[in-house]
């Protein structure tokens, strides 16, 4: 008999799994995509994944701090997106290019 509890009894772990998968997907985007803007999007994805964890913990431990943290993370994410995009705009304005491979000035 297949134990179906794992499908029916949704608990903390399920949310954590979901968060992990989203985080990994976001990370894959950061590593693999070449478009700077998509890169930024992937970062947003990772942040959101983390947020899910926070909220899940908050719910299952009964503490509000998790949600507070999510609040902060969102703010930071918004700020980061704003700055990142501003940078992307200036770079694009100068080079007409948002390909991340194009910016390798940190080369040692």
């Amino acid at each position: 008999m297949l134990n179906t509890d794992i499908f029916t009894q949704i608990g903390l772990n399920h949310y954590l799994f979901l968060s992990a998968i989203l985080f990994v997907i976001g990370m894959a985007g950061v590593l693999l995509r070449r478009n700077a803007i998509v890169l930024l999007m992937s970062i947003e994805l990772m942040l959101n994944a983390v947020n899910i964890s926070f909220v899940a913990f908050s719910k299952y431990s009964g503490k509000m701090e998790g949600q507070i943290m999510v609040f902060f993370v969102m703010t930071i994410a918004a700020a980061e997106a704003a700055v990142g995009l501003a940078l992307a705009v200036t770079i694009f304005k100068r080079f007409r290019e948002v390909n991340i491979r194009f910016f390798e000035h940190l080369k040692g």
Binding site: F7, L12, R34, I37, E44, V55, Y60, A79, V89, R94
Partner: protein, 176 residues
């Protein structure tokens, strides 16, 4: 299958596939739209976790403001689907995918291994009250007031900085 479970599975499938789409679609506009979809999914997940206020904020801030910003920028750039959306290099590509997969596996493994010690076995079903927003507000303006204010300052700085950056010609690479 109870409604809760159904809702969870449905939302997770939507969120994950939208997330995948963000990474896999070559056209940035589609990626952006998929991201918006993911945001909405996440917001819905928040709802299932009784974090109504956050769900709202998520929709407003992310799916609203941030996504609009992204789309605006994309439109500004007028980008087409890219011919080479993914970075080149067999070895590094393999390494990247490999390391990402390993990381995912490891995180999940970690969760499984530590699930017993995380919060104990008898998890309370629902602890957070329905009026979580009130508690959140109280907490935010008392205990975490300083962090809140600091965030405010940060946002201010970001706003000024972003404007300054966007206005400058050539940004950090400008030649004077």
């Amino acid at each position: 299958m109870n409604p809760e479970a159904f809702l969870f599975w449905f939302l997770s499938i939507v969120t994950v596939s939208a997330g995948l789409a963000v990474v896999l679609l070559t056209n940035p506009i589609y990626a952006a739209l998929s991201l918006a979809m993911t945001m909405v999914g996440v917001a819905a997940v928040f709802v299932t976790l009784n974090a109504y206020f956050l769900a709202g904020v998520q929709l407003i801030v992310y799916a609203g403001a941030v996504m609009v910003l992204f789309v605006m920028v994309l439109m500004l750039f007028d980008l087409k689907a890219e011919i080479q959306a993914f970075s080149r290099g067999n070895l590094s590509g393999f390494l990247k995918i490999g390391s990402v997969a390993m990381l995912g596996g490891l995180i999940i493994g970690a969760i499984v291994m530590s699930s017993n010690s995380l919060l104990g076995n008898n998890l309370p079903d629902l602890v957070v009250e329905a009026d979580g927003s009130k508690q959140l507000g109280k907490l935010l303006f008392s205990k975490y007031l300083f962090g809140f204010e600091a965030l405010g300052v940060l946002l201010m700085v970001v706003a000024v900085g972003a404007v300054a950056l966007a206005r400058s010609k050539g940004g950090t690479h400008a030649k004077h």
